[in-house]
Assembly symmetry: C2
Homo-oligomer: 147 residues x 2
DNA sequence: TTCAATTCCGACGAAATTAGTCGGAAATGA
DNA sequence: TCATTTCCGACTAATTTCGTCGGAATTGAA
């Protein structure tokens, strides 16, 4: 029932890019330093996020990564799916992935419904939270701190 | 983000015991056969459930396992916790487990809230579903089938 | 032109977790 | 006494996770 470091670090990195959105490409080294993530490991993750179209990159000096869409158009669910695969507590729930909806035992439908409910509740949180939501939370926290 | 086979099989086994609740101890061999789970593996899981007080056992001939409380008093969350540990997407959310609430970087509080929301939504489903709920779902399905 | 900075790529490796198996001891009812 | 059954701890194989490493390609700036 856990998010692996891929998902956790990926979200951290994307959040970092959100706070720096609009200022040109951010080198991976900076993100890694701020977020305390191994540079070479993060490189892997950014590669996946780039291939999935969530970030764009620029090579060479003054290069780096930036969000390829504004923060309100990127959800946490998208990030997690790229880095951890489908959001599902049980593979057999995932009709897309070749494993059909039928788990072998018809009476198991009851349990299937249980896991489906769990899946839905997870998706509800992850797919309805955007990077912009998080940014605004951060702003509010800063304001609160100042008082 | 997945439930391991420990959790999945454990819930199946407990559901099996629910459908047979009140008829005396059920031998592990029967559960394993009905649920298509390796007998020796299931043995491990039942041992954990017994130590946690969710099932009681009787040794020897005519022995077996049964729920130690009526189905409406056992939640899926209890079963999962015994077999998979705390329900949490991130270890640092778990204040009980020695890893304090503080993740090292104060600004990460925003992300912490995100994961906390996810955790809450998972707990909401798992802690509010009892074995009796599942049994009733099964009864309804049977009724529907008959028509 | 050269050079440092940076992404990109694929292979590799260590550690942890998962998913079991195995052998035998102890209890219990028939 | 014996077949049935739980109980226990150790062991193993496969998979996944969490990275590292070496080097190629690109790019802006001096």
């Amino acid at each position: 029932m856990k998010v692996s470091t891929r998902g956790e670090y990926g979200v951290r990195a994307m959040f970092d890019l959100t706070l720096n959105y609009g200022t040109g490409p951010i080198p991976l080294k900076e993100i890694a330093r701020r977020q305390l993530i191994s540079e070479t490991y993060l490189e892997q993750l950014m590669g996946a996020l780039r291939k999935a179209g969530l970030v764009s990159s620029k090579r060479g000096a003054q290069g780096g990564y930036e969000l390829s869409h504004p923060p309100e158009q990127i959800t946490i669910g998208q990030i997690i799916r790229v880095l951890e695969g489908p959001i599902t507590p049980l593979d057999c729930l995932d009709t897309d992935s070749g494993n059909g909806p039928y788990c072998g035992q018809p009476e198991q439908c009851v349990l299937r419904n249980l896991w489906k409910e769990l899946q839905d509740s997870m998706k509800r949180v992850l797919d309805n939270t955007t990077l912009e939501d998080l940014r605004q939370d951060a702003v509010k926290l800063e304001v609160a701190k100042g008082q």
